[in-house]
Symmetry: D2
Subunit: 75 residues, 4 copies
Amino acid sequence: MWKEEDNKLKKTFEFKNFQEAFAFMTRVAFLAEEMQHHPNWSNVYNSVEIALTTHDAGNVVTEKDRKLAKAIDAI
Amino acid sequence: MWKEEDNKLKKTFEFKNFQEAFAFMTRVAFLAEEMQHHPNWSNVYNSVEIALTTHDAGNVVTEKDRKLAKAIDAI
Amino acid sequence: MWKEEDNKLKKTFEFKNFQEAFAFMTRVAFLAEEMQHHPNWSNVYNSVEIALTTHDAGNVVTEKDRKLAKAIDAI
Amino acid sequence: MWKEEDNKLKKTFEFKNFQEAFAFMTRVAFLAEEMQHHPNWSNVYNSVEIALTTHDAGNVVTEKDRKLAKAIDAI
């Protein structure tokens, strides 16, 4: 579940290993480029934390973040 | 199904679009590096053709190719 | 140098190893998605062969291919 | 310059845009897999922050971190 916190939409994804985590990141990277809306994200081994916020709107959660969140869940 | 032909183990994979095809290629790239055994492969849009052969054994199909084929199918 | 041949714009790129070749392919993949114009390409270890043609124009070389070729060279 | 801080070896890399940043991350991902030593890292648009520490040694900086740092700089 995505959780709204500190004006960010957040979710953590867990994978079997680093290879799977990074392949997921590649998918997200393509979506982000397509939407021209990029995540704040971090990775350690099999875990990927994503935080979405709209810089241009003053760092609050907007429809752009919800749309990217939905696209990520559809992967 | 992998098909043995011309001393190569071959299979074609179809995806929804280029993004999915390339994400799959990224997974295969990691497996190939891990095994230090690299495919002959080509891509057009949503389609990825893989041909496996063992250069060091004189370009014939060996156990290395079967192992990589199995790992690719497990993606 | 890109070479026009069989209604395709072609070039082969050589790298130090597979990792570098695949990182280059990732760059090209992003450009292709951005332009919504995708290459016919193949890879074996450190070598990447790219062939560009415009399917929608009846598989001939168009301005779209020249633009993608220029963007690839700028990597 | 890598900086040792809080038992981590840290460095921030800046790129022209997201595509270049993510292509760099792909290179680092391959190195990390090759060494079986993975970074703590985060990305926002054109910026990539890497923090290296050795979990198995009790989260301190070891020779493994210095080796990966050197390999990343060689990209």
